[in-house]
Amino acid sequence: MRNEDYIVEIQKMHFLRGERKIFDDVNIRIARGKITAVMGPSGTGKTTLLRLISGLLKASQGSVLVNGHNVGKMNRSHLMRMRREMGMLFQSGALFTSINVFDNIAFPLREHTKLSEELIRYIVLMKLQAVGLRNAHQLMPRELSGGMARRVALARAMALDPEIIMYDEPFTGQDPIAMAILVKLIRSLNDALGITSVIVSHDLHETLSIADYIYVIAGGKVIGEGTPEQLQNTESPAVRQFIQGLPDGPVPFHYPGKPYTDDLLAEKH
């Protein structure tokens, strides 16, 4: 049942997409109130992991427990209830393009609560103040820069005061200032509100600076885990290649196939 230390427990989880194995016997635990990062090269299914936690996808084998409940076995209404306790920051922001910033943040409140419009206004402005965009509440999503859109999306993810917020590649494609703002926001929101944060990212520097605990996944398996210090001093060559950003190593530089000499010799005939 409910585990006081860990909010999300992924046990012996397998996930297949068609014939392709995305996850192969993965075990991950996410501690309450901490920032946990999941890192790995592009295309290793990091985003898929967040979708599995939120029940947008179902594991092929094994279990994904959130607050002790198996996400894969929940019925529709239970799933919908659970998701209200979750906020997710999508890579694209996923703001509703047809309504303005204020309405975007008010959306989940209007949908799931019976609060008066006056109270909703206070809450929305409060959330926007927290991300520094109170004065942008009238703008439409198309008028926002990439960094601003992500902050608005963050304010929306927090609207219902979730227990857990998941960030899908929050730093990708951001300028240094926007990046610094996001790092600061993620940390301060996590600590001030006592929520649990899960970050999926391949931006090394920022993630190492912010996470309390990191999982590194590659080839469908967890190849390393630990605090940022532990990972930086790891012996494992695969983890070191990733953490130090080396072009060649256990993840080869060359796309696998026949040796170069074969091609060169074939040219002669």
């Binding site: 979708r51 947008l56 998701r83 996923a94 703001l95 393009t97 989940p108 949908e111």
Partner: protein, 261 residues
């Protein structure tokens, strides 16, 4: 040979799978406890986007189609001295066939493609997933109002198309080619039957509205969420809708006017 059969079988399976999926999506979006106040607001928004914004193209095309009918009909009928029957010809061909069919084809091109592109874009920008993660069912919230809006709009648009086209025909036949005004209207009145002609035409456009909107929302919802995928989905909406409209029109006409019913 074996390969051809294999391929055919594969395509057939794929076809039925798609139909099944589309039916499931449609049913799960429209069946369920309605939220009257919110549902009405969403429906009105979509009626505007799907119906009102299609009006200009429907009206313009209606005028031209009516004018062409007037002109073509006149040049043929005048040879037999029967140009008085032009009102009848215009009205019958419009309410029975051209109104529902051309209206639906235009609707597929204007509103159907827009629906597919909009839903596809919402999918590509993760807005549909975002809704789901907020505990809101995108089928009920996004698909259902769009489906109903299309379903309600097309019959009305087709009627407007026919009415405007009759007026277009009137302009050419009476104002320009000097067919007698009274004969134009009275011939039309005596030959067009409300049940037989107008109601059957409306039934046709209800069926077309259902099919076109269903195809459009399904293609959007099932599209591959990339710019390329949305492009393909939009094309498919227009192509499939056009084929389905013409095919269904034949079947309906056979049942309604072909003595099969």
């Amino acid at each position: 040979m074996l390969k051809v059969i294999q391929h055919l079988g594969h395509r057939a399976l794929h076809f039925f799978l798609t139909i099944g999926r589309a039916t499931l999506i449609l049913l799960s979006s429209i069946i369920g406890r309605p939220r009257l106040k919110l549902g009405f607001k969403l429906l009105v928004e979509q009626l505007y986007a799907v119906g009102v914004l299609s009006l200009p193209i429907i009206i313009c095309s209606g005028v031209f189609v009516g004018m062409v009918l007037g002109l073509q009909g006149y040049t043929t009928l005048v040879r037999f001295g029967a140009e008085q029957a032009i009102g009848q010809l215009i009205a019958l061909s419009l309410v029975r066939e051209l109104g529902p069919v051309i209206g639906a084809l235009l609707f597929a091109g204007r509103a159907g493609s827009a629906l597919t592109a909009e839903i596809g874009l919402m999918k590509a920008t993760e807005q549909l997933d975002g809704l789901q993660l907020m505990g809101i069912d995108p089928l009920r919230r996004i698909i259902a109002p769009r489906f109903w809006a299309g379903f309600y709009s097309l019959p009305l648009l087709s009627l407007i198309f026919s009415a405007v086209a009759v007026y277009g025909g009137y302009m050419v036949a009476v104002e320009w080619l000097n067919v007698d005004d009274g004969a134009f209207w009275s011939n039309m009145q005596s030959s067009v039957d409300f049940h037989e002609d107008i109601l059957n035409g409306v039934i046709k456009s209800i069926v077309f509205g259902f099919l076109v909107t269903w195809i459009a929302v399904y293609q959007g919802y099932a599209s591959v969420p990339t710019s390329e995928g949305i492009g393909y989905a939009t094309t498919r909406t227009v192509v499939y809708s056009s084929l389905v409209i013409l095919g269904a029109d034949f079947v309906l006409t056979a049942v309604m006017f072909g003595g099969l019913g």
